[in-house]
Assembly symmetry: C2
Homo-oligomer: 455 residues x 2
């Protein structure tokens, strides 16, 4: 009987579709608008090629904000504005260097990128010997051997996980917590193997932990070919290196999230948020991370207007500031919403790349999850077949927590994401137009269904 | 009641997983072997970069056959051999040209590629005016206006279809039947808009109908930018062109399919076939079409050996000759199997690119379809969530028909396939290692399940 009951529940998606004829038609209209008249790809070309990198505090950030506001208006927002927030201003600060200083490979250079929010060595650099550490357990075993040395975390991105975010979740701890952990035992610098499957040797940057109570030492990433090379050298001989990064913080500066709004026709006070983040790392065009989410967000707005859909609730389209190294935009958005006593009901994010969609991650009650899963038959023709328990991305976290509301995130196919993530290779050319569009159309459909049926 | 019955059937996949614990473990072993120790990507690099294009009759074909036989042995085949078949020997025959000869755009050149199996103009070329035709209905309306002209089929690849093979199925008729249809009304040449969404302007070749009873005129493809340009010109002014292709057939020559075998432990006389095609068009490396299928086929063999799996049935791994412009390898394989009175039970193909897998297409009875669909929960962790009614690809068609057995094909995500299909851009760099591997592992799992449970 239990099995039969379970069966009835899992069959609901199949049965409810017959009641959703209108929904199929509207979602088809959304799909056709995006696939035939889509602007997301052209917008992404402009953002990546005309503006490019846009780390918080950079001139690219300012240009991106202005472009975002203009594009939000062109996309048909009823209202649009900039939401100010103070953002950290971390800079790479010029030439970085990692060079062998002893033995047969003397003067051999490795390609490096300082980790975001890391501290630098100053212009003189340091010279020290390298110790390879395979894991945090390995660090504990070697805690008496790292003093005065540069710790090389060579934790490999695990190929056994099918969804690469699981490999990332495991490996990123060495980037995020590794420097502080090594500093505790007296290390003078850190080298981290990049979190990627890609053998193209680009170093992948990304935030490392920072803050007043966290011990700081210079830290940088190297690509996989260099990591394997260094590992190989260290099997044979001690390796000393000249190690230099000029990374440092400037004072916090003013940044902005860009917000557009379609005002609700029935419950204008109830707000649905959809967004991506406008900032990117300094090394790349930020095409997948998160140019894709940015242009998808505005494409949903453009499309709902284009097909003449009048949302019942107010829909906010947000290009968040400073996701990469501070999350100040997401925090400010929630803070201001609370201060204004707004009523928020749902938030959706796209920050996993412009790849072909597979599903959504959803954080809500079991009943709410069941409800959104009942919509899968409507999305499956467009490539979405699973809505898994999870949550939204980083930017919608604060608003979700502040209001205790469900948040969700688009889950595209993950195989290529970490090939480009936080590296120079995250460029427009690596985004496929239709994959980007299919993400936008599934998000638009999801927003439409939440607007129509609630949660 | 009917709905409940339907419900019970659709729930079977959920229920049967509990009986398949061993299967999960074996499929996980397959997955780990491929993702950690995989050779498919390196093999593909060799095939595309060291051998490259390998159209039937070319020197590349001969090199590919030798490489295939060696790699089949290295992958662990119990037996391996070449299966001879006569193959067509069509050649492009040197420089192709399409150039405007009148008006303000005189001498403007378009990038062209003669269609496979097409006839040429000879070295002197032809000069004629161009008439644009939007569809076969349009051709009928204009049948009195095409005599002596070059017909430009400008049928657009439909962006509304989510699965791009549907756009292809519709548009490819103009490449395949268009030249013969235009010849019937006295056209002297054909230009076809390429079947792609990609705006990179590469012309996409591919077979056009040929045979003694089919009227033949020279025919070539142009890329999308050139097609839009030509359309634009024709709105404004008559366009005359110089049109030259040297395409022609040489006498049929000897080609080979490459076959490897794992001999069955319980029913060695019952044969399961898995394969892809070894030939490619002359313009490209044939990385997705069908280098991917070739290396996936041998990866399944290598993996089953590596994990120590002893198949009950004999499994044949086949790199088919001449899929692109003749299908002689597939036909010969079936013919010889019949002549030898072999017993075949199932055939699986990969010929839709090395992209992230989404499902399988399966041609069999409703009961057989239901049975293979009950395996979906075992494959879903690896990205396969649908097994749709359909059939195998072109190469396994003949053996499926000859023996009346089910055939299946891997269905990868289709968004990028026609960006590269039959064009110069179908190169190794456009294949992602893990997407290729995920295809191989789902195919290996499918073969394992058919071997274990039958159909």
């Amino acid at each position: 009987m239990k099995k039969l009951f379970f069966c009835l529940l899992t069959c609901l998606p199949v049965l409810t579709i017959f009641a959703q004829g209108d929904d199929s038609v509207i979602i088809k209209a959304i799909a056709n608008e995006i696939l035939v008249n889509g602007k997301a790809y052209d917008n992404l070309r402009y953002l990546t090629k005309q503006i490019g990198a846009r780390l918080s505090g950079s001139s690219g950030m300012v240009k991106a904000e202005q472009w975002g506001l203009n594009t939000m208006k062109q996309s048909g927002a009823d209202k649009s504005w900039l939401q100010e927030c103070m953002v950290p201003h971390w800079v790479r600060g010029g030439k970085e260097e990692l060079k062998v200083t002893n033995g047969a490979e003397k003067n051999h250079q490795l390609a490096v990128a300082a980790l975001g929010n890391s501290t630098g060595t100053g212009p003189k650099g340091i010279t020290a010997s390298v110790i390879e550490i395979k894991s945090f357990e390995d660090l504990e075993k070697n805690k008496d051997n790292v003093k005065g040395k540069i710790v090389f975390y060579n934790y490999k991105f695990n190929p056994r996980f099918i969804k690469t975010f699981e490999s990332y979740g495991e490996a990123v701890m060495y980037r995020y917590m590794g420097p502080a952990a090594a500093a505790k035992y007296g290390a003078v610098g850190v080298i981290v193997r990049s979190m990627t499957h890609s053998m193209d040797n680009y170093p992948h940057t990304g935030s490392t932990a920072s803050g007043d109570t966290i011990p700081k030492i210079p830290s940088m990433a190297i690509g996989l070919r260099d990591a394997d090379w260094l590992d190989d050298q260290l099997q044979k001989t001690p390796v000393n290196v000249f190690y230099k990064t000029n990374a440092h913080f400037l004072p916090d500066t003013i940044g902005h999230s860009v917000i557009g709004e379609l005002t609700g026709s029935e419950s204008p006070d109830e707000i649905i948020t959809v967004g991506g983040h406008l900032d990117s790392w300094d090394l790349a065009e930020g095409a997948h991370d998160d140019g894709a989410g940015v242009v998808q967000t505005m494409e949903i707005l453009r499309t709902l207007k284009a097909i003449g859909y009048k949302p019942k609730h107010t829909i906010r389209f947000v290009l968040f500031a400073n996701e990469e190294n501070g999350l100040r935009g997401g925090a400010k958005y929630a803070e201001e919403a609370k201060a204004k006593n707004e009523k928020h009901i749902f938030a959706l994010e796209s920050d996993a790349g412009g790849f072909t969609p597979r599903g959504f991650s959803f954080g809500g009650s079991p009943e709410q999850l069941k409800k959104v899963q009942s919509w899968i038959p409507l999305l499956q023709p467009y490539g979405v077949y699973e809505i898994e328990k999870g949550g939204g991305g980083a930017d919608v976290g604060p608003v979700s927590q502040a209001f205790g509301i469900p948040a969700a995130e688009l889950i595209p196919d993950t195989q290529r994401y970490f090939d480009y993530h936080h590296a120079r290779s995250d460029v427009f050319e690596n985004v496929n137009k239709r994959e980007l569009e299919l993400g936008a159309l599934n998000m638009a459909a999801f927003i439409y269904l939440v607007d129509k049926y609630g949660l």
